[in-house]
């Protein structure tokens, strides 16, 4: 094992899949000469040329359409939409075409398409450049929505997404690109299935269910709680469609308490949907109401003081855990 950034892990996944399969190409705004807004595709133009690393005009709807059409013709497009905020301009293509063609045309067409995009706040980008929109897309049957949090998962899941016969929305987080983590050595082939969630930390007292950047805050919170004698299990969803309900219920049956932590807005989102699923599948095992830690229900403010207050913190997670885990459980 070696240590790699999330960004470099993603680039390796693209590189390996492009070497493996001539049908894989990447396309998007400023991904070639510029190297990608977040430098994920940096240097790929040198190895693969402009046939397979293709810059486009600023036109999200047709960028998505090119991906869908190319996938219909059995290519393996990896489309980059610069940020998820701009994906709304391509949403008709993603939702009305990519997610529906296979079903609507009786199983004939296949759309093995990956749309890579970037979510998240915390860099003072303001209201139109800081959003979490994974819940929006996870609403639609026909799509897979992957949202990895670690370099290991980012690389392994992107490789799986490229090989998946379905359209996959692959959501990276702006503040994760520079984080480092263990990734198998170059040449050591591995993939991470899109369907499986992952226990990132074992615990007995409460299950913290989270994904994307909030995984890291949750792990920090769990360390602090451990010092007070409370053992939190931290479950990384990794994909929010499909949902790995078995792993979730297994964990809930063990801990009997759940805190859901997500960066996005509370209402009508992933956390609330998940809470309903947990009550459906594991109500009898619950010893306390599910707690939610979410982003503030406001458009993202610019000022760093306000922005910090709008995004969940480690302390918010600790407080939510303490609200449902009796102090008596500590130091058992």
């Amino acid at each position: 094992m070696r240590t790699l950034t999330y960004r470099d892990a993603l680039r390796e996944a693209l590189q390996e899949e492009m070497r493996r399969d001539e049908r894989v190409f990447i396309i998007g705004e400023d991904i070639a000469g510029y190297g990608g807004t977040y430098a994920v595709t940096k240097g790929l133009i040198d190895e693969f040329g402009d046939k397979r690393v293709r810059d486009t005009p600023l036109a999200e709807e047709v960028i998505a359409g090119i991906g869908i059409g190319a996938a219909l013709a059995d290519l393996r497009p990896v489309v980059e939409i610069m940020t998820i905020n701009f994906s709304l301009l391509a949403m008709d293509q993603i939702v009305n075409s990519a997610a529906k063609f296979h079903y609507m045309f009786g199983g004939q067409p296949r759309i093995p398409l990956v749309i890579r995009t970037v979510c998240g706040g915390g860099a003072q980008r303001g209201a139109q450049h800081s959003q979490m929109m994974e819940s929006l897309y996870a609403h639609f049957p026909g799509l897979k929505v992957a949202i990895p949090a670690t370099p290991y998962d980012a690389k392994g899941m992107l490789k799986s997404a490229i090989r998946d016969p379905n359209p996959v929305l692959f959501i990276e987080h702006e503040l994760l690109y520079n984080i480092k983590g263990e990734v198998p050595d170059e040449g050591v082939e591995y993939t991470v299935p899109l369907e499986l969630a992952d226990i990132k930390r074992q615990g007995r007292d409460v299950t913290i269910i989270t994904f994307s950047r909030m995984l890291h805050l949750s792990l920090q919170a769990a360390e602090d709680l451990a010092r007070e004698g409370l053992e939190a299990e931290v479950l990384d969803l990794r994909s929010i469609r499909p949902i790995d309900i078995d792993l979730i219920t297994d964990s809930v049956k063990k801990t009997n308490r759940v805190v859901i932590v997500e960066e996005g807005w509370k209402y009508y989102g992933t956390g609330q949907g998940l809470a309903a699923l947990i009550y459906e599948h594991a109500f009898d095992y619950m010893d306390a109401p599910i707690q939610h830690v979410n982003g503030a229900d406001v458009p993202m403010p610019y000022s760093k003081v306000l922005e910090r207050a709008a995004i969940p913190s480690k302390n918010d997670i600790i407080q939510a855990v303490k609200a449902i885990v009796p102090a008596a459980l500590a130091h058992r």
């Binding site: 190409f25 046939k51 486009t56 005009p57 036109a59 709807e61 047709v62 998505a64 359409g65 090119i66 991906g67 869908i68 059409g69 190319a70 996938a71 219909l72 013709a73 059995d74 290519l75 497009p77 008709d92 293509q93 009305n96 075409s97 063609f101 296979h102 079903y103 609507m104 045309f105 009786g106 199983g107 004939q108 067409p109 296949r110 093995p112 049957p141 026909g142 897979k144 998946d164 016969p165 379905n166 369907e195 499986l196 469609r241 499909p242 949902i243 790995d244 309900i245 078995d246 792993l247 297994d250 699923l277």
Partner: protein, 341 residues
Amino acid sequence: MAISNATLSGLTRTQLLEMHYMMTLLRRFEEKSAEEYTRGKIGGFMHLYIGQEAVGVGSIAALRPTDKIMCSYREHGHALAKGMHPNEVMAELFGKITGCSKGKGGSMHMWSNKHGVLGGNGIVAAQLPIAAGLAFAAQYQGLDTVIACYFGDGAVDEGAFHEALNIASLWKLPIVFICENNQYSMGMAVEKAWAVSNLLPRAAAYNMPGEVVDGMNVLSVYDATRRAVERARSGEGPTLLEIKTYRFRGHSMTDPAYYRTREEEHEWRSTRDPIGIFEKILQDNGIGSQAEFDANDEKATQVAEEAAEFADNSPFPPLDELYTDVMVDGSAALVYRHPRK
């Protein structure tokens, strides 16, 4: 009348009469569809192609079987002209399992991998970006496939039209953009919607050739499409065709067409019927006789009748079809369960 071996537009007599048959089939098929809709056998939205037959038949005659088409929701005619069996199209209208999309699509969603019919699309202009993607793929794979992308005059007003034309021209994609200007986007008259009087300035804006074509003359449509297809196939890039036509019926089955006068409709139907115009051309050139037209018509009527019978006698999809085809690998779309240990 003596039947000559003359050709028109480089088409043989057999080909020309085949085109006549196809136009007649589209007409009779749609009339049958309307009848079955009224009987309650067909539901939802249904947009008939009556009046526009010369566009679909003339342009598709200029394509190879390996070329692909993408269409709007008014696509029964294109599906038939591209070679799909009337039975599978009619059964789709009836929502039967024998329909081309297993009854999951309906009138607006015909598909055939075999015949290169890649969908009727219910979202106006959404097929243009995807068609550009198909053309991109052909270029990427080094194939000489051409994509014909059909849309109505309403689609020109959508942003997708402009994004797709720009990128197709920029990358010289092998695609022919075919605007079927039937004068109304639902009830909106084209002159109230377009800031231009025809599409030539739009073509020029994206640096591609454009042509305005008489869509009631199937040979004019054929000639113009053939030129555009040759350009596309030889790597010269896309062409924008504005084919002027008229739908003889309302926008959909539920549209009484109050936005236009009965006189206007009568004028088009009585003097500009594309089938009548083609028959006159064939007769004037000594290529086809009334007896042959009648025989084509009789056959088309019978084929449409048989298609309705086939559809009616076909079973509905079994209820377990509800949850198939959501994901390609057959996995559950939302809740994933898997064997653990």
